[in-house]
């Protein structure tokens, strides 16, 4: 049962082969028996999940079931869930029970999807390996000595290990695509503004975007159909006509122009990764796609620009965690300054503190122009690069990550090395474009992700290009040993 995709499970539910309660119980049992060695979930919400499952089965009897009614999922613990701890994997919010649901959570509730639990992640989504979580690292199901990537590492590992058929994630600099690549699943970061940020705890507001993580492109499309849509509570939410993101799954790729950015195929890429990506290019060529070299001349500045803009926004976004109204408060503060310093010093981990300090510095009087303002200018140039490229091509293909999953602890000593693991994903967030990662093969037994980048609002086309690949390959069907 757990080997089925969301699309297959939906069909099985519709056909009465299985009930939502049976399905939910099955996944809860898998979590119970298998998550011990992964640590992909921070909170398991079995009771609520079963309650929703019962309601879903009832709705089906009444003829009121929607496309995903009864399909269980998991939410990244960055989405606020009413009555359930919403920790952001931080000690700061270990005691925080959200009084309201995020927009995304509401939508999955309305769709009738039981929520099995809240997934582990890097603290406040700051990290690329899931090692900054207050609840401990997540292990990669393909090799439990290795990281699953981050920050949506728990969501990725849970889907890869078949503990849930789909998960929500968020992507600020690669946090959906990089872990999807490292765990061999499919993940989509939509166009900025597609998915409501209401109730999605902010890391860097101008970059954060929620998106689906599942095993196939088709499943991501089904989830995006639920997640996307205008939300008046988010001023950056886009008002667009409703669309079926799976409308182009079967479109032909003949004549499709795919761009290959020279800058993404240079030094630093692991030879195993390069081989897999080249095989994927050959595959698309056989389907009739044409390849064009494109230039993204400013993409080399993406990492430095990102590490000014994102920390700057985070330093301000995380100021509300002050120990006054909710969250961690230190014992017996002797005065206000002590309350602030110790509550925040104890509540935040090292990486979060590092970024708050970097961001505070970048926004400070005398440095603002040289860092923040300059970074914003380069950000525009990076977006212009993509705009120019999309005048020549329909989609861009690139590796999702320079290497496969690295060992736990391998990069924690040097933050810059860690930051460079997002080198191929960050530019997309700075430009606000949609992009996805899908499994394209293995290098030394570990999954390799291919990245497809689309023009603004081109999610349906991206999903079609990915689906055609998955129709002709089996990489997305591979299950890690022990989790089949």
């Amino acid at each position: 049962m757990h080997d089925k995709t969301i699309a297959e499970l939906a069909t099985a539910l519709r056909g009465g082969e299985v009930s939502s309660v049976e399905l939910t119980e099955h996944y809860l049992r898998r979590i119970e028996s298998l998550d011990g060695c992964l640590n992909s979930l921070i909170t398991v919400t079995a009771e609520q999940a079963l309650e929703t499952a019962r309601a879903a089965d009832d709705a089906r009897v009444r003829g009121e079931a929607g496309p995903l009614t009864g399909v269980p999922i998991v939410h990244k613990d960055i989405f606020c869930t009413q009555g359930v701890r919403t920790s952001c994997a931080s000690r700061m919010l270990d005691n925080f029970i959200s009084p309201y649901d995020a927009g995304v959570v509401e939508r999955f509730k309305a769709a009738g999807c039981p929520v099995l639990g809240k997934t582990n992640m890097d603290e406040f989504a700051m990290g690329s390996s899931n090692e900054t979580s207050f609840y401990g690292p997540v292990n990669n199901p393909w090799d439990t000595e290795r990281v699953p990537g981050g920050s949506s590492g728990g969501s990725a590992a849970a889907v890869a290990a078949r503990l849930a058929p789909g998960a929500t994630g968020t992507d600020t600099g690669g946090s959906i695509r990089q872990p999807a690549a490292l765990t061999g699943i499919t993940g989509l970061k939509p166009t900025y503004g597609r998915v409501s940020r209401w109730g999605m705890i902010a890391f860097a507001s101008s970059l954060d975007q929620g998106g689906p993580m599942a095993r196939t492109a088709e499943d991501c499309g089904l989830m995006l159909n639920v997640m996307a849509g205008f939300d008046a509570r988010d001023s950056t939410s886009l008002e667009r006509p409703a669309e079926d993101f799976n409308a182009c799954l079967n479109s032909t790729l003949r004549g499709l122009k795919i761009g290959l950015p020279r800058e993404f195929f240079g030094e630093g890429m692991d030879p195993g990764v390069a081989r897999v990506i080249n095989e994927a290019i050959d595959f698309y060529r056989k389907l009739g796609a044409e390849f064009v070299d494109v230039d993204l001349p400013h993409s080399g500045l993406s990492v430095p620009v990102y590490y000014v803009v994102a920390p700057a926004e985070c330093s301000s976004n995380l100021a509300r965690f002050d120990g006054v109204r909710y969250g961690h408060r230190c014992e017996a503060p002797k005065d206000l300054m002590d309350l602030y310093m110790r509550s925040r010093g104890e509540g935040f981990g090292a990486e979060v503190q590092r970024r708050i300090m970097v961001g505070t510095y970048a926004l400070s009087a005398g440095y603002f122009d040289a860092y923040y303002l300059k970074a914003q200018k380069i950000r525009r140039l990076i977006a212009d690069d993509f705009r120019n490229a999309f005048e020549q091509v329909d989609v861009i293909l690139a590796p999702a990550t320079p290497t496969t999953a690295f060992r736990l602890g391998e990069k924690t000593a040097d933050p810059v090395t860690m930051y460079l693991s997002d080198i191929y994903t960050i530019a997309v967030n700075l430009a606000g474009l949609p992009a996805m990662s899908l499994p394209a093969g293995f290098a030394e037994g570990l999954p390799v992700g291919m990245q497809l980048i689309g023009n603004y609002f081109d999610e349906a086309r991206l999903l079609g290009v990915a689906h055609q690949y998955q129709m002709g390959t089996e990489w997305h069907q591979m299950a890690p040993a022990g989790f089949e």
């Binding site: 989405f79 209401w198 109730g199 902010a202 988010d234 301000s316 965690f321 002050d322 006054v324």
Partner: protein, 477 residues
């Protein structure tokens, strides 16, 4: 050594919207602590601001009223600092691109002179909550009802030269926001308050002296006293060979002095940057024209109309248009008295204002309505009563004893205009005061008043004074 004072004001006017600037919570004053603070106002994780469009309309109204350009694009920025009553750890404000650009207002001083005061800018921002230090046994309570209340911060140029000019400017802005109906102007509740930047320099020099900023002045009187104290303090420092430090100061109304709150070195670096949760505020030209068309008659226009239409002096017209309510009251009274606007003006500015001040009432709560006052003044106009008797009638009306005609009737205050009756009284008075008559006739003119007084006394003040004068002159000659 002669010193010149330089003052600039930052006025915070709370915009009278029903809901907050970035959330749907109510802005009503006086609710139980934290009952009017929603998830957004509390700064819960994951919440986002959405701009209340009504504040934009209000800001545009103000901008147009002071002749300022309305920015086609303005930006909301975050002002970052930590304080327990600032839930997000930043205040959403406008920094580099405010919604209202440079404008000006004209103020009138008591000697009739006018001055133009520049308004540098006005921008939209959210208010913080309130820290409550009493009743918590050494702890601090936080009430977030006020958090997110919309404010228009109106920043002046350093154009004022004394406390009285500053007060006149603050009153002018106060009148303006109330005319525009964008702020209730309630200073006790903090809906209208200001910070004053005060510095001094040697007369004749152009360079500004080091300034002190006096925070949170919520009455015209406090503003005047705080500035006067501060000017003296700075003069003492400079004349004693010292230097003024740039700092923020608080005014203590009980002691009548300002004291240091924090110096420039301790000041926050607010790390302003554009709020990524809010889009730039774009304002279309047709919206501005719509707002322009909705503007009421403004104080200056009204004042000039009063001067032309009613023949009032600049001073009277200025006083009567100081508030929209007073101007409306005056116009209703004047309408009742065809052609005698001056009588209406004198009564509104005199008896009525005196009685209101005595009981600390607003004109809207006057026990004597404009219509009732008009009815009273009509009786002066048609000689039913004298002006002096009218004051007695007014007091009775104020005390709720009925309208003018009822009071005149009940108290028998109708004026005596029968020449025969007045002559009779005059004859009696002359007969009873032979020595005064002799003195008067021998050249002591001043005694004329004595005879008038006696006649009025004997008639209970009801004799028509003009007739009394006329007849006395004849009889005494």
């Amino acid at each position: 050594m002669e010193w010149e004072t330089v003052i600039g004001l930052e006025i915070h006017a709370q915009l009278s919207t029903k809901s907050k600037i970035f959330s749907g919570a109510s802005t009503a004053y006086g609710a139980e602590p934290n009952t009017q603070a929603c998830a957004v106002d509390l700064g819960l994780p994951g919440v986002l601001p959405v701009l209340n469009r009504e504040v934009v309309r209000m800001a545009a109204k103000f901008g147009l009223a002071i002749g300022a350009p309305i920015a086609p694009r303005s930006i909301f920025a975050r002002k970052n600092y930590f304080y327990p009553d600032l839930p997000k750890g930043y205040q959403i404000s406008q920094y580099e691109l405010p919604v209202v650009g440079r404008g000006q207002v004209e103020i009138e001083l008591e000697d009739g002179a006018t001055r133009t005061i520049g308004v540098t800018r006005a921008h939209l921002e959210e208010d913080a909550g309130k820290s409550l230090h009493e009743d918590y046994h050494g702890m601090t309570g936080v009430d977030l009802n006020r958090a997110g209340t919309p404010l228009l911060e109106i920043v002046s140029e350093p154009d004022m030269r004394c406390a009285r000019e500053a007060v006149a400017y603050m009153k002018k802005i106060h009148a303006l926001v109330r005319y525009l109906e964008i702020c209730d102007g309630n200073m006790q509740e903090g809906s209208f308050r200001c910070d004053a930047n005060v510095s001094i320099r040697r007369k004749g020099t152009d360079k500004l002296g080091t300034r002190a900023e006096i925070k949170n002045l919520n009455s015209f009187r406090f503003l005047e006293r705080a500035i006067n104290y501060e000017v003296e303090r700075q003069i003492d420092i400079l004349e004693g060979g010292g230097a003024v430090v740039q700092e923020t100061r608080l005014f203590d109304p009980d002691k009548g002095e300002t004291r240091s709150m924090r110096s420039k070195e301790e000041a926050n670096d607010y790390r302003y940057f554009p709020d990524p949760d809010l889009l730039p505020l774009d304002i279309q030209a047709d919206f501005i024209e719509q707002v322009r068309a909705s503007l009421p008659e403004l104080p200056d226009e009204k004042k000039h109309r009063f001067m032309n239409e009613y023949g009032l002096s600049a001073y009277d017209a200025g006083v009567l248009t100081a508030s929209r309510e007073m101007a409306e009251y005056f116009e209703q009274v004047a309408a009742a008295l065809s052609g005698q606007a001056k009588l209406a003006a004198n009564w509104v500015m005199g008896e009525l204002t005196g009685a209101l001040n005595r009981e600390n009432r607003e004109i809207g709560n006057s026990p004597v309505s404009a219509k009732a006052l008009g009815g009273l003044l009509l009786r002066i106009q048609d000689n039913t009563i004298s002006g002096k008797i009218a004051k007695e009638v007014f007091e009775a009306m104020w005390a709720g004893e009925g309208d003018a005609d009822q009071v005149i009737e009940r108290k028998g205050l109708k004026q005596i205009t029968d020449t025969g009756a007045i002559e009779q009284v005059i004859d009696q008075v002359i007969a009873e005061n032979p020595s005064q008559l002799e003195q008067y006739r021998s050249g002591k003119d001043k005694l004329f008043g004595f005879f008038v007084g006696q006649v009025m006394k004997r008639t209970g003040g009801k004799a028509n004074p003009a007739q009394v004068n006329e007849l006395l002159k004849q009889k005494l000659s």
